[in-house]
């Protein structure tokens, strides 16, 4: 930490009180709850903790969460790469519309996102009758949870990649083509390595949200224990049953994911910044 200049001329006590206020705020709203989660989780000891997270319904919730993330994250990586590629490297009609549509899930309440799927696939929804006549269940079943999760998390990867790819332009890809590389080789050897850290950053945020999503998933899940509960839903059920230590034990799993995410994120963020700076450095017109 250093100060850019003395021009603002704030006296020491102003600076320190600003720092103190921010720290107090952070502790109150972020650190204390996090500590409380772990405290409550372990209050009844290791045995109770292990028991709470290895109970069949909890394991089923963990499994469903992992499966959901394992489908949603790769799906959004593919979508994100395709959309970022299209937006950054081509000019086509509807380009700016696509750009704003990508961030739509961020602006819509997750509950609404869930309801959309009920309206589409529910028993009285548009596609509901057709689906049930073919014996397919989407809402109140894992497919609905996966769909809602994909919808809620799809901006993450694309939004990380678009600015970087726009900055990098497409001259390197053109150079690869003139050197005889195929489209796939160009993507694998030139495009992907140039955005790998931004991609990782997007994947991590996407994954964290996929595992932690509550609202949209809650609407489409139906809360069938052992079948359509994800970790966040399971935590809610335990809590509503006044089973606090079990609720916090399962919640601590999500908190671990959050901490790991934070660590990887800060590394990826730094590397992404280096990628960005590398672009500017190479493009500088220096002799």
């Amino acid at each position: 930490m250093y100060r850019n200049s003395n021009a603002l001329g704030e006296s020491a006590w102003v600076r320190w009180s600003l720092i103190a206020v921010s720290l107090a705020f952070l502790s109150l709203l972020l650190l204390t709850p996090l500590a409380a989660v772990f405290y409550e989780a372990f209050r009844k000891g290791w045995a109770a903790y292990i028991q709470a997270i290895s109970e069949p319904d909890a394991l089923a919730a963990v499994r469903l969460t992992l499966v959901t993330a394992a489908i949603a994250v790769p799906a959004n990586v593919l979508f994100g790469l395709a959309a970022a590629w299209a937006i950054a490297k081509f000019d086509f009609p509807g380009r700016s519309l696509l750009t704003s549509l990508i961030s739509l899930p961020f602006t819509v309440s997750p509950v609404i996102s869930g309801l959309i799927f009920i309206l589409l696939f529910g028993a009285r929804g548009w596609l509901g009758p057709w689906l049930s006549s073919h014996g397919l269940r989407v809402v109140y079943a894992p497919p609905g949870i996966v769909l809602a999760t994909i919808f809620v998390t799809f901006p993450f990867v694309a939004q990380e990649l678009i600015p970087l790819m726009q900055e990098q332009g497409d001259e390197e890809e053109q150079a690869a083509l003139t050197l005889g590389a195929s489209g796939w080789q160009t993507f694998r050897l030139v495009t992907l390595p140039n955005v790998k850290w931004a991609l990782l950053y997007g994947v991590i945020l996407c994954n964290a949200r996929a595992m932690g999503e509550f609202g949209a998933v809650s609407v489409v899940s139906g809360h069938v224990r052992g079948q359509t509960n994800t970790i966040p839903l399971h935590v809610e059920i335990l809590y509503n049953e006044y089973n606090f230590s079990a609720a916090f034990a399962v919640a601590s799993l999500l908190s671990f994911i959050a901490l790991i995410t934070l660590a990887v994120k800060s590394i990826a963020e730094r590397k992404t910044r280096t990628e960005m700076e590398a672009v500017r450095k190479v493009d500088e017109r220096v002799p």
């Binding site: 001259e171 390197e172 053109q174 150079a175 690869a176 083509l177 003139t178 050197l179 005889g180 590389a181 195929s182 080789q185 050897l189 030139v190 390595p193 140039n194 590398a278 672009v279 450095k281 190479v282 493009d283 017109r285 220096v286 002799p287």
Partner: protein, 385 residues
Amino acid sequence: MKIHLSGVNKSFGDFVALRDIELTIDDGELVALLGPSGSGKTTLLRLIAGLERPDPIPGCRIEFDGVDVTHTSVRERRVGFVFQHYALFRHMTVFDNIAFGLRVRPRRLRPSKQEIAAKVNELLDLVQLKGLAHRYPNQLSGGQRQRVALARALAVEPNVLLLDEPFGALDAKVRQDLRRWLRRLHDEIHITSVFVTHDQEEALEVADRVVVMNKGAIEQIGTPDEVFHQPASEFVMRFLGNVNIFHGRIRSGKAFFGEFILDPIGRNGFPSGERDARLLVRPENVELYRDDPGYPAFRARVQRIQLAGPYVKIELLTPVGESLHAFLPHARFQEMRFIENEPVYVTFRDPKVFVDGQAPLAGVHAERAQGEPEASEAPYSHAGV
């Protein structure tokens, strides 16, 4: 590899970037596409590379050695393309950059690891970058990056080498060294090469032939000597080198530019009737005399003398108060020792008269005959060098 283009047009939406391009580049030639920005020179280069597609108009054809490549993809054309900002792969070392084109070949055509290494080292030698093989692009200077880009393009043994503003992003000194080096390299490897530039000096110094472009069309194709000394149009003369420009009129077979009256030389004469015309003279073709040279000349006054540089630059003031530039060799100036404010006699060597839509007309000083209109009657103005 001989390149031939005919009937090539290219537009981007409503903007016409190229119209009716007709161009032949001979095997082993080094050709410059020269023009101001927006003249279509880079688009033409990208069309040759296959990075752009010409407008699908009947009769449009791009040929390499007589083979139609109009619809051949950039991959299959085997061109070496050096981008203006080099487009080096930023996450690869110099070695990997140069080896890229060999490594992406299909397995049966791909050289062995040892062969690739040998080829890359040979190219590093050629571009004088031995020892930098393991650097990354952002650890290189602009000139070094340029040479890596060149080596990378040459690694695939291309049919033609295409360079987009190869020296554009470099500072003046590096640029000069590099363009001489490029010329020597071309003399060594004799690959058909085309480069784009907006710098006339660069084009004239490096190229075997120069293609001068303006507003999407080719104005003139010729050797540096031809385009400089026998410009096909007013644009070419103005774009290449310095010029003094006088605005005047053609009337009854003579050209009037204020004090200055020209008789036509050559068979064609000046167009009949009254026409607006421009007189263009290069400053190095302006001759100054202290005493009456004994043949038609006009008077002017020395205003400013600038001694620095390859020429002595003299700014003169004509009797109607317009300025005119003359570039004198230092030896001649030493002989004459003009001083500021001195009245002198001025004659023009090789003045060229341009009338809209016509090839340049040559003229020679005419004596003013009795009853000729007064100088001040003719519209007269002047644009500087």
